[in-house]
Subunit: 495 residues, 2 copies
């Protein structure tokens, strides 16, 4: 008998359909919606949230979960039940009025943040950010109690279940030991080499889009289940059955939009490859944000910025834009796409300096959440740590501690997933190269199929049936480590 | 005290938000969605329907409605309560399993209809269409009992509350007495006149779109609360706060797309002009399909096909397409836009022959619903009536009784609203011309503002606070009549 379990499937199915509907409305909001509809759209999204919250807080769920525990379930059903329980804990640990308070406070803080960043006014943002922080700690504390872990680990669990501060500390310590000297040596070496030349534009947006579509097709994107549009902040949204990618175009520089499309296509391939039999069930979802970021970085950083792939892409760019001269050669594009330079802004960082941006945010948000630092001291602490990690000091808070939307929007515990994603990407790509003979030759022909077949079998198709570490262990022979990432950096950037 | 009433407002607000969400998903399905997502989208829409159905069938509603009846309500609140009761009756008269059976049967029949029409196979469609008809009669019978009216009137009430067969019979009898001789005389006269010349294309789609947008602006469309896109079947969708219009373009003929945009803009102006204070409440919705069609036909047939407006539009077309010669003159475009010719297809019909298409469908669907005709006899009855009403006989069922999606999709009782809309449009436009001095001169300048101000005060802003006839009585001094429509046809098409 699996009566209780099947009743749960039906309930979670409805929650996930509501989430999918929200995904479509979010996409529309960022790409199609006229500004005047913003308030109505917020109401629609809030209503979906409220209805979904009613479903997860339904009193019957607790008993059904307990009952299903004793039923005779398949491995996938058992894994699905475990994910249901996790979602139940997150949905029930925090009382409804606190959820609402966080939603209101973070919406208000996001709005204030846009002004504060534009006006370099950390003091002006402070009271609202303090409210968001306090409420997030309150929610995190409730979840920590329910999960039996620390507050920071409870927040992290929202984005990458089974990860912990203990693991992150070990991984990041490795990186901190390696990166400073290595980065300095890469920069020194790059100074001695031929400079990279940017191809001269303008580059018509229609042409950029056509190339983006062609490369999405090369990666294996299924246009019967998704599309590419424009938004201010590129993202991969929609649903696993209808993946909506976005990018933004700059007529003066095609390289960023194209690489952005490839990055989002990596996310999309994960969604499109999730186990179809488990669509709309918790176990059928992507494993978490670290694994999600690993898929975008695998396609972007590991595969598409490789010398091999650029030998395929360079002539395509040259032909499409009628380019002439050395700037259009693969060799130059590779130098462009692998330039290393410490900068103030995380989203503009190269893959060598990016981890330092993340480590800084991880240390600071932990200190804030664990009460070891006052929010008022954040700007100074940020600037000190930028200097010690990257050797530069922001001239203002706008390009310092005000640059990211994450904290104002209440996403504490999210930042580490970027760098765990980069490490997982390197680890998975190394395993794929070992497992698939001729993988790099395929990429040099613009053929991602062998790589995607491997990823579908080893990552995408597993959904949330195992933890991040379990998936990595089975696919690569080890849980998340720094080794492959460091080797990748040494191979690509070392002398 | 208005406690029960306010509780009802909160419940109907949620239902209407779900309906708005469905509106956005429908728009996306027709304009943006990749084909592969069709099944998921159906699931999403079905889930919204089920959840909405759960809300209207909630056991608490009956008592709240009874309680609110005795509360001290404003006129608008009282009207809102009346609309809530009407929606409650429609939502509760039919048991859930019958609603589901109709939904399944009509979806299956729609799919079968596409093939049947393409293959001219009425016999193949018959069993599925019979099921839809039988289930629709079953639902109509249940609603008729709850509303205390005939089955056909109950079906009609879904699309135009307070209309009835008795009224329609009187109105259509007037038209039937007038139209045959009049139509013949118009056709004879047009034969003696200079023929209308179609401007020669191709007409680039981008230019057609630009003109469409310019004319939408002229009508007063608010682009902060809506947009224009492309779909196979043009429609006006989305929500009252975010109206999504669509059209389709033909490179060989710009006149139909432009007039289609103006038609949909008429629908849109109604939605955009609904009483903002009552958004998401039953009383804040458009009055019904007759009134809705009156607004599109008022903008298209009454205003935009007038000689006055075409003197404004003709130079605009000529300039945009670099046109040359007599075909681009207002006089010729007017002749093009007012050509009368009996044809087989309703959606291609001119405004003189259109009512005959509707009368035919009204008579046939009533006979089917009231058991006076067998479905198997439909094709012969259709062809006979086409011959008697329009003097032509379809060479096949594809261009006869298989041409419309309405019956396969279960929309019995809908057809009369097209012609009631045409009559209401003429009646309202005549009243507006009387009330607003210089209205036609304004249109000759491309200025719809005075017309729209009048419509907003007399129609749009009333939402569903009164019946169709009450709104017309207040705006024009009479309930729905044929007089203004006949006068309009005589003035425009008479000798």
């Amino acid at each position: 008998m699996t009566k209780a379990y099947l009743a749960l499937e039906s309930r979670f199915r409805r929650m996930n359909i509501l989430a999918d509907i929200g995904g479509m409305l979010h996409w529309d909001m960022a790409t199609m919606m006229p500004d005047g509809a913003a308030e109505s759209r917020s109401e629609q999204l809030a209503t979906l949230d409220v209805m979904s919250n009613e479903l997860i807080k339904d009193a019957a769920l607790k008993d059904l979960l307990a009952e299903a525990e004793g039923e005779n379930l398949s491995d996938w059903q058992r894994a699905n039940l475990n994910e249901m329980k996790r979602e139940w804990v997150h949905g029930n640990a925090v009382p409804g009025d606190l959820v609402e308070a966080i939603s209101r406070a973070s919406t208000a803080c996001e709005v204030a943040w846009r002004t504060a960043r534009a006006e370099n006014d950390f003091a002006g943002l402070l009271p609202k950010l303090q409210t968001v922080l306090d409420l997030s700690i309150e929610a995190g504390t409730a979840k920590a109690e329910a999960l039996g872990c620390s507050v920071y680990d409870a927040l992290l669990d929202q984005y990458d279940p089974s990860m912990s501060c203990a693991k992150i500390d070990t991984l990041f310590a490795d990186l901190e030991a390696f990166l400073p000297d290595f980065t300095a040596s890469v920069i020194d070496r790059q100074k001695t080499e031929a400079p990279a030349h940017s191809p001269k534009g303008p580059f018509p947006i229609e042409t950029q889009k056509a190339i983006g579509l062609e490369l999405m097709k090369a990666v294996g994107f299924d246009f019967d289940h998704g599309r590419l549009d424009i938004s201010h902040h590129p993202f991969c949204g929609g649903t696993a059955d209808d993946v909506r990618l976005t990018t933004r175009y700059n007529e003066a520089d095609f390289t960023s939009a194209i690489m952005g499309v490839l990055h989002e296509t990596g996310h999309a391939m994960y969604e499109l490859g999730l186990p179809a039999d488990w669509r709309l069930q918790p176990v059928g979802k992507a494993r978490g944000m670290s694994m999600h970021e690993s898929q975008s970085l695998l396609v972007e950083m590991q595969a598409s910025r490789s010398q091999e792939f650029l030998t395929y892409a360079a002539p395509l760019f040259k032909k499409a834009f009628n380019g002439e001269g050395a700037a259009w050669e693969a060799e130059n594009l590779y130098r462009l796409y692998t330039r290393v330079e410490p900068g103030l802004i995380r989203v503009d960082a190269d893959e060598v300096t990016y981890p330092s941006h993340v480590i800084l945010r991880y240390r600071l948000e932990r200190a804030l959440i664990e009460g070891d630092m006052k929010l008022a001291d954040l700007p100074a602490a940020w600037n000190d740590m930028m200097q010690s990690l990257l050797g530069i000091t922001p001239p203002n808070d706008a390009d310092g501690c005000l640059q990211d939307i994450h904290w104002p929007s209440g996403a504490w515990g999210y930042f580490p997933t970027y760098t765990m994603g980069a490490m997982a990407a390197a680890q998975l790509f190394a395993a794929a190269r070992n497992a698939v003979p001729g993988l790099m030759d395929n990429l040099a022909q613009g053929d991602f199929a062998p790589l995607m077949i491997w990823l579908r079998a080893n990552v995408h198709g597993k959904g949330s049936s195992a933890t991040t570490d379990e998936i990595l262990q089975a696919a690569t022979g080890a849980p998340l480590q720094t080794k492959a990432f460091i080797t990748h950096l040494q191979t690509r950037y070392g002398s």
